[in-house]
Subunit: 330 residues, 2 copies
């Protein structure tokens, strides 16, 4: 899921960039077709040879390629176009169908459409630099199984060695940064937290609402540190966070997905609030833990998250994955 998140960020950043560029080109580009009727067909891609697939998404039908075009380094992005309602009649009339499967009232086919009804959006960066190539390269993820002992012998030492700065988190808690973005602030040192929009959310619409609650307690690294003594803190974040979102965004609790990540991307306890139905990066079952479930599990077993085996994805270039390999746990 981390993978997909990274990809999606690239995709949407790229999409924005492309559309801005397209707009610019519309104004500046003087070599457009004069007649406006006949399309200008090229075959520059016939000289393209693929070196590697940098990343792709079967769900989004997009592929990022690195290769060479007439001697130059190039990045090519292929993306199937959305299905258009206004071409359906022609599509059904002029396509060929190949039966794949039939069972009861269900059948499935492969449909071959006239190619002008089924284009592929193609973006070329040429000559491309190493920076372009890196930008589009995706890393594979691997599911890691971490017992309580693995946590103490592999993960915890790794986290401590890294000692990544949390200064930006403390800046938020102390109102030294992003103070104007804070949606709700509970100053209690034990159960208090700060709620603010995640940077991924542009706050333009609630459809993709995404907020983060950051606990004021500084010594809780992750889910693994939680025990029943933290129940008042978790309850407080759960209830006041939902109430603040209802008040500010008019979105009731039944429309929210409230969860923690394991592994988190930074080791200071924080909780994600995203809109149900918005496919937020990182909301997959392999990384997300519903806060309501976490509370219930701690109520039943105060040491639940200290003793249980937990599973999570790690990217191939994650140092922690290397440690799990060294420990022969992968």
């Amino acid at each position: 899921m981390a993978n997909v998140a990274a990809k999606r960020e690239i995709s949407s950043a790229e999409g924005e960039e492309l559309s801005r560029e397209a707009k610019r080109a519309k104004g500046d580009d003087k070599n457009g077709e004069e007649s406006g009727n006949e399309p200008e067909w090229e075959n520059i891609l016939s000289t393209f040879t693929t070196t590697s697939v940098l990343s792709d998404s079967a769900r989004e039908k997009i592929m990022f390629l690195h290769g060479k075009m007439a001697g130059d380094e190039a990045v090519v992005v292929l993306e199937k176009t959305p299905i258009r309602e206004d071409s359906l009649a022609e599509l059904f009339r002029d396509s060929k169908l190949r039966l794949d499967m039939r069972n009861d009232i269900y059948s499935s086919y492969r449909l071959q459409a006239p190619s002008h009804l089924n284009e592929i959006k193609t973006t070329v960066v040429c000559p491309a630099t190493e920076k372009h190539v890196k930008k589009y390269r995706r890393q594979e993820s691997f599911l890691v199984e971490e017992t309580g002992d693995d946590y103490r012998s592999v993960t915890l030492p790794y986290i401590q060695e890294q000692s990544l700065s949390l200064q930006w988190v403390y800046n938020i808690l102390e109102k030294k940064a992003e103070a104007e973005r804070v949606v709700y602030d509970d100053p209690d040192p034990e159960v208090g937290f700060v709620l603010l929009p995640d940077l991924k959310w542009d706050q333009k619409q609630v459809d993709d609402l995404y907020l983060i609650a950051i606990a004021r307690q500084k010594d809780i690294k992750s889910l693994r540190d939680l025990s029943s003594e933290h129940l008042p803190l978790l309850h407080n974040i759960f209830h006041k966070g939902k109430a603040a979102i209802l008040e500010r965004y008019n979105l009731p609790a039944s429309k929210l997905r409230v969860y923690l990540h394991y592994q988190p991307s930074y080791y200071h306890l924080h909780v994600h609030f995203t809109k149900l139905g918005h496919d937020a990066p990182g909301c997959g079952v392999e990384r997300a833990h519903l806060l309501s479930d976490v509370i219930q599990n701690l109520q039943t077993d105060p040491q639940y998250y200290r003793t249980r085996t937990l599973w999570f994805p790690l990217r191939a270039d994650d140092g922690l994955l290397g440690r799990f390999k060294e420990a022969r746990r992968l």
Copy 2:
């Protein structure tokens, strides 16, 4: 590189399937081509007229349609297929390109591919009932909280009243349908299961691998029915399912997300196997339960899923949501 190998293997598996299908067609279908080389083409969709677009996703390039086909109500799902690495060379050689924009090192095109390299996966439900139409119509979702008591007093009676036909499941288990699609079959009546590709997966690449394991035991409706007595069944599905996927698709367990849905879309125990990194619909934390977690929870508490509160999303038009409202549980 492992990816490439796996893709090639799928291609050849697909090739085998095609030739098997061609053989079947030759035997059963009296109006098939005599040569046995040409695929079996249909044009049933030419009689389809669209009544409405039930939902669509520009991001996923998918569209759900309601309409009529030769007098019958029908639902048609069109989904563009993922881009295939093994067809890139042919794609670049044989496609036409139309320049849309050029600016500095960036350019963008519309690519028209040979139609056999750019198919649209088409699923037809015909005749379709109002329930099918409803299933695909876009709806808001609400998160429901279900205690063990709620399950027994609200959910279970509702499921029993609905008594939806599971004939298509039994057809698969009894090899009366889709027998040629089965990837692995364990015939044991207690712990056995059938593993086959989900209809959402076109099997052309492992990137969006999606298989379903259907238990042979017929009396397990969902997660709620599971207790420690089912651990041998769950272990068997988990281990043999992963082994079968490694053998057939060369995809190791560390690349798999294995989970159950609650609520499931049909009440006969089944387990989802999807590729980690593929953002499969329904893999979100609000609906998916990792099989490894389910096993661990049942090992610790044999009645875990019969007693715990569970959360899940229900669409606005789901009859079960109405029942929760009537019971003042929402």
